[in-house]
């Protein structure tokens, strides 16, 4: 997956600083930001860039995430390219605006660092903050590594501006946000070619005098959702195009799903974010011990690339979904999505849902190896299973 070493600008970056680099390269016009652990290094790095005259973005630091997203929405409505970043409580405070941004078809890119929401207070990796926003109309992508976060945040602008839907990119608190690795930073000129500035139709044009978000009748409101549905239908294709073009430019291609050693697999893990790293290691060890294991990493969560999942799991008898989140009264969100997506499908795999690492608890490789061994031939069980 690595790019050719020649001419490469390799830097030691943590996940958040990699995001800030990606944003710098995408050079948004406006970025309203508010601090929260563990997102703050994104904000600080962007302000460092700005202070050193390396970034032209108008940075706004209002009194809350609610106002940050309100300003993001309004700036985007003027035609500006807009970025913001948050985590956990901040994302939840933005909730009302998330609906507004999507309903107004504003291509804002938001980076969210997945963290447990209060109560009780915690600062741990857990994806329920963003998963509980899944019905707001935002495209959601999940990243596994700092490199992927840099690459994905730039792709996100391309997907957002092509679909006129807002895009949220997520990575896990600390495991990715604060983990340092060598990151290949692409060339500014190459990114500008990859992501040309689009002249977005100006809603707030003083020569036109149109209104955005004005009250509308039932039929009109209904039509906005049908139009969003049509736009959502384009996202899988746009994500593929964006990932493929990125690969041509950087040597690191991406797709909505990443399949690892799935050929001839009798059992695969299905997961998102940093858990994919642990699962990949477990797959290697299982293969060594004679268990034909594989991994399906879900990068695009909303909309769920269901046709691709069906294709990926076509000949695989058993799928073990690993959820680092818990929807009370239901179970793991990714598990539910898969169950719904495979309901009634012919040759569907047996699907098991495991609550692994909820609240940021450690998930060792051995734990996953044991799950594969214990469940690869087990009978279908729809209930979520807590794993300790």
């Amino acid at each position: 997956m690595n790019a050719p070493i020649r001419n490469e600008n390799l830097q030691l970056l943590n996940g958040n600083h990699a995001v800030a680099w990606g944003v710098r390269l995408a050079s948004p016009d406006v970025a309203p930001l508010y601090p929260i652990t563990p997102q703050t290094p994104i904000l600080e790095k962007l302000i460092d860039f700005k202070s050193a005259d390396l970034l032209g973005t108008e940075i706004l630091t209002p009194e809350s995430e609610h106002s940050a997203m309100a300003a993001a929405v309004a700036a985007s409505a003027t035609g500006a390219r807009v970025f913001s970043a948050t985590s956990s409580q901040g994302l939840l405070l933005m909730h009302e605006l998330l609906h507004y941004a999507a309903g107004s078809r504003l291509p804002i890119v938001l980076f969210n660092v997945n963290r447990t929401p209060a109560a009780p207070w915690g600062f741990w990796p857990d994806q329920i903050d963003s998963l509980s926003q899944r019905d707001t109309g935002w495209v959601q992508l999940y990243s596994e590594t700092p490199q992927e976060s840099l690459d994905t945040v730039i792709q996100a602008f391309r997907i957002a501006e092509a679909s006129e839907l807002p895009v949220m990119v997520n990575h896990d608190a600390f495991y990715v946000s604060h983990a340092v690795e060598p990151v290949s930073v692409p060339d500014q000129g190459a990114v500008e070619l990859y992501l040309p500035k689009v002249d977005r139709s100006m809603w707030l044009d003083t020569d036109i005098g149109r209104a955005i978000g004005a009250p509308i009748g039932q039929d009109g409101w209904n039509r906005t959702r049908r139009e969003m549905d049509a736009a959502m239908q384009t996202i899988v294709g746009l994500t593929k195009d964006a990932g493929k073009a990125w690969g041509e430019m950087s040597g690191r291609p991406y797709a909505p799903l990443e399949l690892y050693r799935c050929d001839d697999a009798e059992v695969v893990f299905v997961t998102m974010g940093s858990m994919a790293g642990t699962a990949r290691e477990a797959v290697d060890r299982l293969r060594e011990s004679g268990v034909a294991a594989g991994l399906v990493k879900v990068r695009l969560f909303r909309p769920m690339p269901m046709a691709d999942l069906h294709a990926a799991l076509a000949d695989i008898p058993c799928a073990l979904v690993l959820d680092r989140n818990y929807s009370p009264g239901v179970g793991g969100v990714l598990h539910q999505e898969l169950m719904a997506g495979f309901y009634g499908a012919e040759n569907a795999p047996r699907i098991f849902g495991f609550l692994t690492g909820v609240g940021g608890t450690n998930v060792p490789v051995e734990m996953l190896e044991k799950l594969a061994v214990d469940y690869r031939q087990a009978k279908q069980n729809n209930n979520p299973i807590w794993v300790e």
Binding site: D29, E63, S64, A74
Partner: protein, 290 residues
């Protein structure tokens, strides 16, 4: 009859959805014409959002974003930054909200924008209650006035937003009234020329909310000014206070008696209200001499 001096440039169309006789529509006409064509509007849920209008019509010739109730100042900041980032520095951003959206749920965002001295013109249509939701108490509802959520009369005073804003040391704060339209027009013109945060609070007697006759809005707002209940003032840089209306010339009785929301008050409450207005006036006069 007095001539009203303002430039009618056709920026506000007839056929808007205000209650017939509402002085908020009248004020809107003056404001939109004074602020001019090169303006982007932000409006949040309130009577003025209804006046701006529902899709696909708009009573205003300028573009508007219909924002969220608590986000008026944040959205106006975002519009301004978005325009500036695209080289449109000279476009005025006009933000319109009610008293609920300003004194209450939007105060946090307003304070933040004021502290950052965002280059926006914020107009609060102060009808002293949540009228769009049928007339409930806001923190701008005055002492003793009855509303749907204070049927026995409000037991606390109206929040003093001018002093709160003055404490932020923003360049310009003014109050205005639909009874003094030339003054309103001048204040908008003056505010537009100032860089930074400007706030104009316009008193709007609400016909159903205050319980007044359909043709009484301008009269009641004039009495609010003349009795000193709602003095017309300007505050520059949060420090220099000036009173623009003639002196307080009338007792509050005529003002109160035209409104059903004060119908229940006792004689002693009336005396207390008068005392309160007199004290506030004296404090204001003292400020102008500081």
């Amino acid at each position: 009859m007095k001539d009203i001096e303002y430039n009618e440039a056709g920026q506000f169309c007839s056929g808007h959805n205000a209650c017939a006789g509402c002085a908020e529509a009248l004020s809107m006409r003056v404001i939109l014409n004074a602020v001019g064509k090169n303006t982007v509007g932000v409006v949040v849920p309130s009577c003025v959002a209804i006046i701006v209008g529902a899709h696909p019509r708009s009573s205003a010739k300028i573009p508007f974003i219909h924002g969220l109730l608590e986000s008026a100042a944040a959205m106006a900041s975002g519009v301004k930054r978005g325009l500036v980032s695209q080289g449109k520095d000279d476009t005025t951003v006009l933000c319109l909200a009610g008293d609920g959206g300003t004194y209450d749920i939007g105060l946090q965002a307003l304070s933040s924008a004021a502290e950052r001295n965002e280059d926006i013109l914020y107009v609060c249509f102060d009808n002293e209650g949540y009228m769009n939701t049928g007339g409930q108490t806001s923190s701008s509802t005055p002492l003793a006035a009855s509303t749907g959520s204070s049927p026995l009369g409000k037991t606390t005073r109206k929040k003093n937003l001018v002093e709160i804003l003055a404490a932020h040391r923003i360049p310009y704060i003014a109050t205005a009234s639909p009874s003094h339209l030339s003054d309103l027009s001048e204040k908008v013109t003056k505010a537009k020329a100032i860089r930074g945060m400007k706030v104009i609070i316009v008193v709007i007697p609400c016909l159903p909310g205050w319980g007044i006759a359909d043709d009484a809005a301008v009269k009641v707002s004039r009495l609010a000014v003349e009795s000193g209940v709602f003095p017309l003032i300007e505050v520059e840089d949060g420090l220099r206070y000036s009173i623009n209306s003639a002196d307080k010339t009338k007792p509050i009785d005529e003002y109160l008696d035209l409104q059903k929301r004060y119908r229940h008050i006792s004689d002693s409450e009336r005396v207390e209200l008068q005392q309160d207005v007199d004290d506030s006036w004296d404090r204001l006069v003292a400020r102008t001499k500081m």
